[in-house]
C-alpha cells in the first residue's frame, strides 16, 4: 500500500499535545509521585575513592539503627553480580572487590524513611585499601607507566596501550579495540575498505594541510527529574515503576542482574521528564537504580523506592562522551576540494565498561559531513577512574562535530573561500558514504544546499559576513562575530521499526500499543495523529498506551532519534494492517470490492456512493474487536551495493555572538536553525525541539562540562544542582526555527518522516565557536567556552584556552 496516498487531516497540523493538560494541572504522575503505604526508601553508599580495593564492609552498626530494614553488600547471597565486560557491565563495586571511580556504588540500605536511611548509610564501615591515585585523563591513561585499571584484561590484548578497553569484552576480542575505518569515494561502494595509501594520496594532492588538536569535556544531562524507581514484588514476580526511556532495554538488563526470567518482571513507564539519554539505553546508573530497588524490595519483603537527589545523579550518572581528545588533520586544494581527513579520537569510557559505543560514535562524527577524497578515522576508548561516558542528546555527534566543524572552519580559511559557499558546495549528498559505528553506509536522502541556503538567507549571512578575520562589529572591548555549522545525526540508525499493535475498540476508538516513550518530544501525540489519519478517525479518539514491558510490543524506546522514524513508523504500519482488515470486513458486509472502498469520519464507505457505509465501531463489533499489528523489521539494504542504507537527520545552524574581551563573557545574540525532518507531523513539536536543542547546545558549549577534580579523587566539583548551570530564560536570545520539509529526504520511512530532536542539537556548539573566532580572531580549541577559558584563549590570563 502506498503510504503517501492517505489524506492528511491531522498530520502536519499544530494539534494540542495530549500530555499538556495533565502536566499543566499537576495530574501527571511521574515516578516520584507514586507511593505505597508500606514503601521503604532505599539509598546507595558511594565510594569516596577513585581507585581502591574493598577489604571489608561492616553493616552491623547501620542495621542496629531503629528504622533500618535491610542492607545489601557482597556478603549477601546476592542477586546482584558484577560482570565487568559482558553486556551488563557492573553493579555493586563491592562484589568486584574494587572501586574504579569515586561515586561507584558500594552498598545498599533500605529504611522506613529517607532521613533514617541517609543517617544509617553513614554507619556502614568500609575498609578501603587505596590502590593508587586515580588516572583521570584518557591520554594520560594511555601513557606507559600509567595506573592500569584492569590488569586482568591487559594480557588478553598485550598489543594495546595500557587502559585501552577491548571493545565487546573478552567474548568478542575479535573486534579490534581501535577499529580504524577508512574509505575513499572511489572504492567504498565496492565493499572493500580503502587502504591508508588513499589518505597518503590525499596528502599529496592537497595544497594546504592543516592539523590541530581539540579537547571537549563531559556534559551532564542535568535532567530536572532525578533517577528514581519503585519496585514491588508479588510472589516471584516484580513490578518496577520507572522513568526509563527504553522499556525493553531496561527489562533485559534488570532481569539479567536479578537472574529472573523476562516474564517475571514488569517495567511500567508512563511519564518521563526530559532525560536526554540519562535514563536511556546502554549502561547507566539509572538501570542500576531500578535493579537496586528490586533487590532491596526482595530482601525487605516490602516495596522499595530508590530516589536519588539531583546532586547525586549528576555526580554518578553517566555523562556525554568525555573527556575526549580529537587529533585532526585535513588537506584542501586552493579551489576548495577537500582531499582527505584523518582523525584520532581518544575518549574516556569510565572506570568499568567495554566502550563499544564510546569508541565508535564520536569517531563517526569526527570526520564531518563533507565530500573528502578519503577519510581515515580511529578511536581509542580508554578506561579512566571517572564515571562512565554514555548516551546524551546526540551522543557522539555533538562532541565529534563540535570539533570537526570548528576544525573545518580552520581548513576553509586557508583557501579564503566563504565558509557558507564552501559548505554548500562540498557537503555530502544522498548516495554518498555515511559512517555509523565505524561502518560505512549509504546516505539516503537529505539536501544540505537547500538547508544552508534557507538558514543563511534567514540569518542574513551575505550582509553580516565581512570576511575571514573581520568581526561584524567592534565596540570597545566588545566584539561581534558570526559563524555557521552543518551537522548529521542518526534518525533511528539502522534499527528497524518498533513493533506496534493498533487495537480497534468496540466503540470505534483506537488504542495504540507501543513501547515508545514520550519525554517531552511529543512522540505519543504525533503517533496518535498518524494513526488517526491512517484509520480516518478523530485525533481525540486515538490513545497511545503507556509503555509496559509486559503488554506493549517489543521496541527500542526513545533513543537515537528513532521515535518519529521507527517507533511511529511501526505504529503506522500496524494502523495500515488494521485498515486492511477493516476494508476486508466492510467489503464482505457491503458486498463490494476492497478497491471500491475508502475510509474517513469513523466509517468505511463506498467511494461511488458514500451513503453505503459501515462504521468502524460496527465492523469491530462484528468480530468482537481486533488488532492491527506490525513486526520489528530489519534494516534496509541498498539493492545495488548491498550496503546498508538509511537517512540521517541533517541541520544547518547560524549564530551571532558578542564577546566581551575584558570579562570573557559570550552573549549569543541570535541563532538560526534549519532542520530537516522529512515531514513535520506536528510543527509545534518540531519547533519546540529546535528551540530546546538550541538551548541545550548553548548550555553544552558555554558551560556544559563536569570539572573532574584530580586532587579530589576525580569527583566533579561542579556537579551539584547549585553549580552545574543549565540555560535559563536569561540565556535565551533570538532563536529562529526553520523547518525544512521534503518527504523525499526520508525515503525509507512510511510517510517520509525522520527524527530531528538530537540532530538539531549537534551544530549549535560549532556555530557558536566559529562565531567566536570571527569576533576575536582567536581559535579556541578547548571546551567549554566559559569566561576563564575564553580569557586564557585570548592570552589575558595564564593557562591553556
Amino acid at each position: 500500500m502506498a503510504y503517501q496516498t492517505i489524506p492528511l487531516k491531522y498530520i502536519g497540523k499544530r494539534v494540542i499535545k495530549k500530555d499538556l493538560i495533565p502536566v499543566c494541572t499537576g495530574t501527571a504522575e511521574f515516578v516520584a509521585d507514586i507511593q505505597f503505604p508500606d514503601m521503604l526508601e532505599g539509598v546507595i553508599l558511594k565510594s569516596p575513592y577513585a581507585h581502591a580495593r574493598i577489604k571489608s564492609i561492616d553493616t552491623s552498626a547501620a542495621e542496629k539503627m531503629p528504622g533500618v530494614v535491610c542492607t545489601i553488600t557482597d556478603k549477601d547471597d546476592t542477586i546482584l553480580r558484577h560482570v565487568l565486560l559482558s553486556d551488563v557491565q557492573y553493579a555493586l563495586a563491592s562484589i568486584a572487590g574494587k572501586v574504579f571511580f569515586a561515586g561507584e556504588d558500594v552498598a545498599l540500605l533500605a529504611a522506613e524513611t529517607k532521613e533514617v536511611a541517609e543517617e544509617a548509610i553513614k554507619l556502614i564501615k568500609v575498609d578501603y585499601e587505596v590502590l593508587s591515585p586515580g588516572v583521570f585523563d584518557p591520554k594520560e591513561a594511555m601513557q606507559p607507566g600509567a595506573v592500569v585499571l584492569h590488569p586482568e584484561y591487559r594480557q588478553l590484548r598485550p598489543d594495546l596501550p595500557d587502559n585501552v578497553a577491548p571493545i565487546g569484552g573478552p567474548q568478542s576480542v575479535y573486534m579490534r579495540a581501535s577499529r580504524g575505518s577508512i574509505t575513499d569515494r572511489e572504492t567504498w561502494k565496492s565493499g572493500d575498505l580503502a587502504t591508508k595509501a588513499h589518505v597518503q594520496q590525499g596528502k599529496k594532492d592537497a595544497d594546504f594541510i592543516v592539523s590541530a588538536n581539540y579537547y571537549t569535556g563531559a556534559e551532564a544531562h542535568a535532567s530536572l527529574e532525578a533517577n528514581g524507581a519503585i519496585a514491588k514484588w508479588d510472589g516471584d514476580e516484580v513490578t518496577i515503576w520507572s522513568a526509563t526511556q527504553c522499556t525493553y532495554d531496561a527489562l533485559a538488563t534488570v532481569t539479567e542482574f536479578l537472574e529472573i526470567a523476562f516474564d517475571k518482571c514488569m517495567i511500567v513507564q508512563k511519564y518521563t521528564a526530559g532525560s536526554f539519554g540519562g535514563k536511556g539505553m546502554g549502561k547507566n546508573e539509572y538501570l542500576l537504580v531500578m535493579i537496586y530497588a528490586a533487590a532491596l524490595a526482595k530482601k525487605a519483603g516490602r516495596p522499595v523506592r530508590v530516589l536519588q537527589e539531583i546532586d547525586e545523579m549528576n555526580v554518578c550518572n553517566h555523562h556525554s562522551c568525555g573527556p575526549i581528545y580529537f587529533d585532526m588533520e585535513c588537506g584542501i586544494k586552493k579551489d576548495g576540494k577537500p582531499t582527505f581527513i584523518e582523525s584520532t579520537v581518544t575518549v574516556n569510557v569510565g572506570g568499568v565498561q567495554n566502550g563499544l559505543f564510546l569508541a565508535a560514535f564520536p569517531a563517526n562524527a569526527a570526520t564531518g559531513v563533507y565530500r573528502y577524497g578519503s577519510v581515515y578515522t580511529e578511536s581509542w576508548p580508554v578506561w579512566c577512574n571517572l564515571p562512565l561516558s554514555g548516551s546524551r542528546r546526540s551522543m557522539g555527534d555533538a562532541e565529534g562535530m563540535l570539533n570537526s566543524e570548528r576544525f573545518i572552519d580552520e581548513v576553509i580559511e586557508k583557501t579564503g573561500l566563504d565558509p557558507v559557499e564552501w559548505r554548500k558546495k562540498w557537503a555530502e549528498v544522498p548516495g554518498g558514504p555515511t559512517i555509523d559505528k565505524l561502518t560505512w553506509y549509504t546516505l539516503a536522502g537529505g539536501n544540505y544546499p537547500a538547508l544552508i541556503t534557507k538558514a543563511a538567507d534567514a540569518f542574513g549571512w551575505k550582509d553580516k559576513w565581512k570576511g575571514w578575520g573581520v568581526p561584524t562589529a567592534v565596540n570597545g572591548p566588545k566584539r561581534r562575530g558570526v559563524g555557521c555549522a552543518l551537522s548529521l545525526h542518526l534518525s533511528g540508525g539502522h534499527w528497524g521499526e518498533d513493533a506496534a499493535m493498533v487495537r480497534i475498540n468496540l466503540d470505534g476508538t483506537v488504542e495504540v500499543l507501543s513501547s515508545g516513550v514520550d519525554m517531552g518530544q511529543g512522540l505519543c501525540s504525533a503517533m496518535c495523529q498518524c494513526v488517526a489519519d491512517v484509520l480516518g478517525v478523530r485525533y481525540e479518539d486515538v490513545r497511545k498506551a503507556e509503555s509496559n514491558s509486559r503488554y506493549t510490543p517489543w521496541g527500542g524506546g526513545a533513543a537515537a532519534s528513532k521515535g518519529t522514524s521507527k517507533v511511529i513508523g511501526g505504529a503506522i504500519k500496524a494502523a495500515f494492517d488494521a485498515r486492511r482488515q477493516l476494508f476486508n470486513l466492510a467489503a464482505a458486509s457491503l458486498k463490494v470490492k476492497v478497491e471500491d472502498l475508502d475510509i474517513g469520519d469513523g466509517k468505511v464507505f463506498v467511494k461511488a456512493d458514500p451513503t453505503k457505509f459501515q462504521t468502524i465501531a460496527s465492523l469491530a463489533n462484528s468480530v468482537a474487536g481486533f488488532h492491527g499489528v506490525s513486526q520489528k523489521m530489519g534494516f534496509k539494504i541498498d539493492p545495488v551495493t548491498k550496503i546498508g542504507i538509511y537517512e540521517k537527520s541533517l541541520a544547518a545552524f547560524f549564530a551571532e555572538v558578542e564577546v566581551d574581551t575584558d570579562t570573557g563573557k559570550i552573549d549569543v545574540l541570535r541563532m538560526v536553525s534549519c532542520d530537516d525532518c522529512g515531514i513535520a507531523i506536528n510543527p509545534d513539536a518540531v519547533e519546540a525541539q529546535i528551540y530546546g536543542a538550541a538551548m541545550f547546545g548553548l548550555g553544552f558549549t558555554m558551560y556544559g562540562a563536569l570539572a573532574f577534580d584530580k586532587s579530589h579523587e576525580g569527583v566533579a566539583i561542579n556537579a551539584s544542582a547549585l553549580d552545574y548551570r543549565i540555560p535559563s530564560f536569561l540565556e535565551w536570545g533570538d532563536i529562529v526555527p526553520i523547518i525544512h520539509e521534503d518527504p523525499a529526504d526520508a525515503p525509507t520511512t512510511p510517510l517520509g518522516m525522520k527524527g530531528m530532536g538530537e540532530g538539531a542539537n549537534v551544530p549549535v556548539g560549532p556555530a557558536i565557536a566559529n562565531a567566536f573566532y570571527n569576533a576575536t580572531g582567536v581559535r579556541m580549541r578547548n571546551h567549554p567556552y566559559t569566561p576563564d577559558n575564553v580569557l586564557k584563549a585570548l592570552g589575558k590570563i595564564w593557562g591553556v584556552g
Partner: protein, 186 residues
C-alpha cells in the same frame, strides 16, 4: 478516655494551621520523636513545605527537583508571594495561605493560565510546569501586562531543561491577554 481528656491532650500538641487551595489543614508538629516513627506527628521540625505538601497532604502536582532553591520547580504562592517550597520549613508556615497547582484549575476546568500553556505548546516534558505556571500566576498578579523582557527576568528562576523558553514566553503573554479579556483576574 473521655472526649475532654482527648481534647486536652490534643491542645498540648503544637500544631500548624495552613490554608491550602482554600482548604484548612491542622497539622501536628513534634520534636521529641525519633525520625523513623513517621506516623507520630504530621510534621517534623526539619520538614520542608514541599515534603509536607507532597507526601503528607498528597499534593503531588507540586514537583521537586534540585532541593536547593535553584530550579523553581517547587514554586508555590504563599500569601500572594512566590516562594520555593523546598527551601521553606513547614514549621515557618503557620497561619499561611498557600496556593499550589491543584488550586488553579482541573483538567475539565482549566485556569486561563493553564489554558494558555496548553494552547501554545507551553511545555515539552512538563516537569517544570507546576512551578512555571505558579511563577506565571505570581507575575501576572502583579504585572498584568508584561513584556517579553519582563517574562524573561521574572521567570529566570524557573529552569526548563527542555529549553522551551520561547513557547513558555508566548504562553505567558497569551495568558495575560486571556486574563485581561476576562476582566483582569479570576
Amino acid at each position: 478516655m473521655s472526649k475532654e481528656a482527648v481534647l486536652k491532650i490534643a491542645a498540648k500538641v503544637p500544631t500548624i494551621n495552613l490554608t491550602i487551595n482554600g482548604r484548612e489543614y491542622r497539622l501536628t508538629i513534634g520534636h521529641d520523636i525519633e525520625p523513623w516513627d513517621v506516623n507520630a506527628y504530621d510534621v517534623y521540625p526539619w520538614h520542608m513545605l514541599a515534603w509536607t505538601l507532597r507526601y503528607k497532604l498528597g499534593l503531588k502536582g507540586l514537583k521537586l527537583s534540585c532541593n536547593r532553591g535553584v530550579c523553581g520547580t517547587c514554586a508555590v504562592i504563599m500569601d500572594g508571594k512566590l516562594i520555593l517550597s523546598c527551601m521553606t520549613l513547614t514549621a515557618q508556615c503557620d497561619g499561611k495561605k498557600i496556593t499550589t497547582i491543584e488550586g488553579l484549575g482541573t483538567p475539565t476546568n482549566l485556569h486561563p493560565i493553564q489554558q494558555a500553556f496548553v494552547e501554545n505548546h507551553g511545555f515539552q516534558c512538563g516537569f517544570c510546569a507546576p512551578g512555571m505556571i505558579m511563577a506565571t500566576k505570581a507575575l501576572l498578579d502583579k504585572n498584568p501586562d508584561p513584556t517579553v523582557e519582563d517574562v524573561k527576568r521574572e521567570l529566570a528562576g524557573n529552569l526548563c531543561r527542555c529549553g522551551n523558553y520561547p513557547f513558555i514566553a508566548k504562553s505567558v503573554l497569551a495568558a495575560a491577554a486571556k486574563l485581561k479579556k476576562q476582566g483582569g483576574g479570576e
